[in-house]
Subunit: 461 residues, 2 copies
């Protein structure tokens, strides 16, 4: 029996030392963020209350590459380069001629791709003399990542976690505290935004948009504090491109070329991180290259069912207006277990790519996703995060199509993280306790339609 | 700034293809297991009701090396070779001249070293025509590992989990089910052993020894079923030696030599797995080589406070009698959060090494261990299992001693796994809710003394 190599490993010395900025290569630029009061493009001055200048510069840069500071590389090397795996056992279980690979970000301190941006964000803030970072977290991946990153650069870290997760999923909260951060349930009585919600609904389960409002409010009022966002913005996706740069090197190492890349999309940072370098190569090759497919939850289908319009990133309307695919900033998705995909909007760059026809999108229901996740665990030995199961489910669909066509497609999965602290979601699935929501549900359509009536008029008139 | 290499990685092609059998090199052999009825050494016939012949042969072999079957290697390659890390950031936080490395087994499907033996045990049983494996699990590491391993070879898997963990720590139970196994709380009404306990104490929280009794009983009565043990026995420690074989290659790769190896000991399989190949080298060098130090919990101190005597491996007395360090087979340790270290006995080989003065042992209290674990998480980005924090705490002690002496000691930590599903223990620590038990506690001493009065007389007369 010949050895079937499972892992494609890069040495630390092979780790990319630059992030890639897709904006430099796009045929048309995405529309700029607007100031909600004036309707005019936001400038650096609008952002300095909550971001350091280095990150503001990265948000708008048109340079093709941005050097990764040595101090950030040093922390990255705790877990990077991350492995690319060939899914031999999954292929065998599916009986498919397709070759399936997965780029696995679950090896990071937080168990997902999020530290790729948390670390540089903490670094640039510390460099600017900031003493504390605030942020929100939903299921807890981002909060864990920022807590870890702040510990590396001696920053305080204060996190608002959506109350439903704070109460129901204590493991992430404890991880965040173990990494040294302070954590509050949102809504909290520490902010105007939180108090306003508590006044009308003391039992509010909270939402990601509201938690953002609370964290931004505290950062904006404290000159020693800044805010950090875990997805959506250009500089966040920039930092994540190290995933795709590594994957290109890894595929080249084994003489392999991707035909299809699938990744889950909540705000889009894992998806963008893996795919942007591949889009660069595709643009350079005149469009020849892999199909790139975003996979979103059917219960929160911002790409496939949302509108492309200016909207707020948060519930309270404190953020700049972003041109993006959105379900409306006060859309509250039904509880689905992939908390990281439960966001009303989508990264402006990814929304733009979708509008331009440069990427595809599909929506998957959660039972199909967990079924794929269980198969993946039993064959590959990794318990995927509920978010990541969306990408796996789409890969299984593609592999089955390849089997039917007798086609030796090469599929690359963006495996964003492990599900070790999401086991209650697997429990619900295994006991038949999950409910699938699809766009055919009148209730979901009505809920989105209602939220979309509250898009900010100034920017969309 | 020069690159500080953090990981020492072996390619899959460099993975060792043989396990190492320390018994072949020991100056004196450990005393044999005895049949509890006759007091005579057990033979293969005594073991065939619950083990396949290949494993029985490995239990008693005097061959120095045992080839790892290709089918087992193929599954190992899902996560092996496991990484050896240099703990640069921990060293810096401690301000020590010591060089600290850790061999990390948390990258496995179960998040610990346990799959190293679960996989070959499932393989040899499947090869022997067995259809089902039964076993016990405490905190759940072993049950998860066996569930995963059985899924690789098409075996059914039935697990009895100590009820206190089954009720209180549901994440591991769900992992076990996700990997496809069936799981029951122990005591259960499915066995004589379980029913006997339930009759006198319907609310019994169970114990590892009792769960073993239940799993052995079911396997012994079903000709298509066998039993699998996750620690203690010779063949289990044999399978774990791949850890140490890899670590020797990794240290050689960077021209490094260990001065001290520390590992936590419950049944001893992670500790033995890392250290036995180093002991081989030390014996070959006439005793020159690293100090080898076992670290056990102060509340369950089998090496430092137990007696060296024949005892049962389980509560009901179904196992052969093993000559080992023991606190008495019905000793019930106070609840400590490192569930994997909560066992009354110790591997016969490791007990023998301790008696012969070839290894050292220390007992650590759990608050010190969690303090070391939090420091490790914040510096190295890995949340260690509560068991593993014992090894880290001993390494921190040694590093501090090296600092005081100005000594550039090279310390290697056996980091048995991650603590992602043990966060409630960290929560208890962070909120000041942990109680330390030491041998100075009269209650602990009395409890051990009482259990030791019930050692089986036939073997110790």
């Amino acid at each position: 029996m010949a050895i079937q190599q499972h892992k494609v490993i890069l040495d630390e010395s092979e780790m990319p030392t630059r992030w890639y900025n897709l904006l430099a290569d796009l045929p048309t630029p995405p529309p700029p963020p607007l100031h909600p009061g004036t309707g005019q493009p936001v400038g650096p001055d609008d952002l300095t209350p909550i971001f350091p200048m280095d990150l503001i510069a990265q948000e708008v840069t048109t340079e093709r590459y941005v050097d990764i500071p040595e101090e950030v590389q040093e922390v990255y090397r705790l877990w990077r380069p991350s492995p690319l795996y060939r899914a031999h056992r999954l292929e065998k279980a599916l009986g498919t001629p397709a070759r399936i690979y997965y780029k696995y970000e679950g090896v990071s301190p937080a168990g997902s791709h999020k530290p790729n941006t948390a670390v540089p964000q903490a670094y640039y803030n510390a460099k600017a003399g900031i003493k504390k970072l605030t942020s929100e977290t939903g299921a807890g991946q981002w909060g864990t990542s920022l807590a870890f990153a702040c510990a590396q650069f001696g920053l305080e870290c204060e996190i608002w976690q959506v109350r439903a997760s704070y109460d129901g999923k204590p493991y992430r909260k404890i991880m965040i505290e173990t990494f040294g951060a302070t954590i509050h349930p949102s809504p909290s009585d520490l902010t105007d935004a939180g108090r306003a919600v508590l006044a009308t609904n003391p039992d509010s389960p909270g939402s990601l948009g509201l938690a953002i409002s609370e964290a931004v409010e505290v950062a904006a009022q404290d000159p020693d504090a800044n805010y950090a966002l875990g997805s959506v913005l250009n500089h966040v996706l920039l930092h994540q491109t190290i995933i795709g740069e590594e994957a290109l090197l890894q595929l080249a190492k084994i003489g392999e070329t991707a035909d299809l890349i699938v990744g889950c999309t909540g705000g889009g940072s894992n998806f963008g991180g893996l795919t942007f370098p591949f889009i660069r190569e595709k643009l350079a090759a005149g469009g020849a290259g892999p199909i790139i497919r975003a996979v979103e939850p059917a219960s929160c289908p911002s790409l496939t069912q949302g509108v492309y319009a200016y909207d707020f990133g948060d519930v309270a309307g404190l953020t700049p207006l972003l041109k993006m695919h959105t379900l409306g900033h006060d859309f509250m998705p039904d509880p689905i277990h992939a908390g990281g995909l439960r966001y009303h909007g989508m990264s402006p760059i990814i929304s733009h790519l979708y509008e331009e026809g440069m990427i595809e999108a599909v929506a998957k229901t959660q039972k199909d996703c967990f079924a794929a996740g269980v198969l993946f665990a039993q064959t590959e030995g990794i318990l995927p995060a509920p978010e990541s199961t969306h990408a796996i489910a789409a890969a299984v669909d593609a592999a089955n199509a390849a089997t039917a066509a007798g086609d030796q497609t090469c599929i690359v999965i963006a495996l964003s993280g492990h599900g070790h602290v999401d086991m209650m979601a697997y429990d619900a699935y295994l006991r038949g306790g999950l409910v699938d929501h699809t766009w055919a549900d009148t209730e979901l359509q009505e809920s989105v339609a209602k939220a979309l009536t509250r898009l900010p008029e100034i920017a969309n008139s």
